[in-house]
Amino acid sequence: MGERRRIGETGDLVFAGLCRGAGGFVLLLLGAIIVTLFIGGLPAFRAFGVEFVWGLNWDPVEGREEFGAGVAIFGTLVSSILAIIFAVPVAFGIAVFLTELAPPWLRRPVGTAIELLAAIPSIIYGMWGLFVIVPFIQYNIQLAFGEQLAALPLVGFLFQSNNFAGTSLFAASLVLGIMILPFIAATMRDVFSQVPPVYKESAYGLGATRWEVMRGVVIPYTRISVAGGIMLGLGRALGETMAVTFVIGNANRIATSLFDPTNTIASVIAMEFPESLSGSLQQSALLAIGFLLFVISFLVLATSRWLLRPRLK
């Protein structure tokens, strides 16, 4: 008996050690990636100082290299935030439909379809964006009523553009919005269905309508988890590369209009890394913006954890 117990204890020790090792390995890996990116980017940070973060010039021409991450950071943040703005209302609708309105026999197929959207490779979204979304924006939005939109008071400048190629900030945000839709919708559906039925039934019992139940009971009960789901979607949108590269227009200029081309961090790296000479300032600048993307993603995830904090207590 005692012998067996000792074997059990040794097994426990080995198992605990392995688990600790696995946990530590993740931390080590994460740290190594950050350090590698930072060291690789150091020459660029040294050459341009803090200004690198908001500098708007990205000039890889040999002999007068000048790099600033401003345009790429702007494009990354704006396209991702616009994607959230497009995706959240639709995701909310899907989640409400699935948890409250859909007949039970429909819930499973629709739910599965949403999850399948998440399984589509991003390059497919990129091709679909380029061949369907981009011409649609070009012909059915920009050429059809671009002038009327640009004449709108106050917001007209958002639609005023000389770019008629269709590849634009708007196209990128739309494709990103569709890509992150399943993540946000799935999170919302899961948390909505966890609201104790007794709360909702009490509200219905008091004569509340469906919308009042959603607004007064379900959303307040789940809002922090919902915010967590949105942050997850944002995290994915920030780092998306191929789909965005196809449709954003890849111009290292600030987009002043939804229809202007611009660039994102991931897309600049994908486009320019293969041609950059090892040890060059350009390669260092690319590693440096990779580091900045890492920092931004980390901040977004940290925010989502912080939002979830009251729950974890």
Binding site: P60, L130, F164, G166
Partner: protein, 352 residues
Amino acid sequence: MNRRALLGAAAALPFLPRPAFAQQATITGAGASFPRPLYDRWGSAAREGVGVALNYQSIGSGGGINQITARTVDFGASDAPLAADQLRERNLMQFPTVMGSVVLSVNLPGVADNALRLTPETIVEIFLGRITRWNDPKLVELNRDIRLPNLPVSVGYRADGSGTTWVWTTYLSRISEEWRNGPGAGTSVRWPVGNGARGNEGVSNIIRNTPGAIGYVENAYAVVNRMVTTQIRNKAGNFIRPEPAAFNATAAAADWSVPNFAADTIDLSGADVWPVTSPTYILLPTNPVAERVDGSRNTMRFFDWAFRNGSQAARQLEYIPLPEGAHNAIRAAWAQNVKDPSGAAIWTQAAG
């Protein structure tokens, strides 16, 4: 002394290559994507012809320079030539294989292939974003016989770093001081206007989908995909169509006797030359380590074979073969520059 040499030879014996006829030698190369279709075609023909199989990876010129600098391949390939000091510092020599042209393609409803005439001045103004509509008086004056539509000009360019961009921006820098001091010349530059896309296919997609678009692509790509191209006025003042005769005129007009074969072929002054034509280069270590000597020799045998037998294939794929004189100069440069660890030339006429 004698005994030591004998011992050395005995030690080296197992590593000596078997004679070429008994074994297929494989060489590996990496670099520019522009000549890949040709190198693939040459590679499959050379297996029979000279017994050398080629494994070529088109990872881009920058990648090719990185790989050959790290000596992980037998040769690198780059569209832009390296400067003399860059070659020296990396112990490399370079030689051109074929030439290729860059052409302008447009999407203008009602305008036929090679009908639109453009001058260097109007091209620069378009790419600087100053000519913004196709019925601009400057364009109308050049093209009295065609009806130019009232469409906005949409510029398309390569967003991925590429040799094609290097050739095109070198041309723009040559014809315009403002471009030279502004965006300049490189594998990627700061484009003042327009939309970027990946590869020739990305740029051609922008052009195809956007009425009023203009962009630069490799001639081979434009021909295969039947894209609508334009005439360009060359330095001599003649409007030239992008056709083989004009490209061959450029190859014949180039001066190949310059150091490192870095011939200036952009905007030459001949009467019939296409102004945007440039060679693509191979980079070869001048001091291959012992185990790479065979790879180096086989690389030179491969290109020697290609120079003698591959011009037909090159023309079929819309590349421009180099003149015979250039081929001989390249062979002489191999013999002079590429040495094995003992200091002996790896390339001799007998090796071919």
